[in-house]
């Protein structure tokens, strides 16, 4: 699944560690989600959406749709 996490993070000048701290997960988790190696659960996706003030669809996109 593609995502805009890296861009959203850069807009706020957050490091992966900063985002991890806000999400209460490890930096490795943020890296794995950001690089598309791990798809977050719905609760974590909602948490990310809330954090960035966006909808899940604005952050994540299904690669098969594009």
């Amino acid at each position: 699944m593609k995502n805009r996490l890296r861009v959203l993070r850069a807009e706020r000048n957050w490091s992966q560690a900063d985002l991890a701290q806000r999400l209460e997960v490890s930096r490795q988790s943020v890296n794995a989600i950001e690089t598309g190696k791990f798809d977050p659960s719905l609760p974590l996706a909602f948490k990310l959406a809330r954090l960035f003030g966006a909808t899940i669809e604005q952050i994540f996109s299904d690669e098969s749709e594009s």
């Binding site: 209460e24 997960v25 490890s26 490795q28 988790s29 794995a32 190696k37 791990f38 977050p40 659960s41």
Partner: protein, 134 residues
Amino acid sequence: MACTSNNPAQRRFFYRFAVAMLLYAAALVLSILGFVHYRPTGVLAYLLAVLPALPIFVMLAVIGVYLAEETDEFVRNLQIQALLGGIGGTLAVVSVWGFLEDLAHVRRLDLLLVYPLFWVFVGISTVVVRLRYR
């Protein structure tokens, strides 16, 4: 399992696991000493013989509790994959060895080696899984 120092669930896991290992060591010593000094028979012999296995049940339960307590879903996913690798590797080796015992008459595998073997495979799987997600 890899430890992230700021992960409370992993810290609790390692503490509980260490306690279970100490219990195992104590139970093993108690069991051996019991057999050496008292040469028990019947039910008592069975009970004393299985005593060191009880902390192993505790260790397995500690793993289950850890997986339930781990709030970082990515880390939990890695640990589950590593544990599955451990289970799969152990079952594969034991199955192959079983056929070798029956058909090729190789040396009988000491069943006490199965549990340490599981952890060896968990260790190998942990490295492989971590490399995959690096």
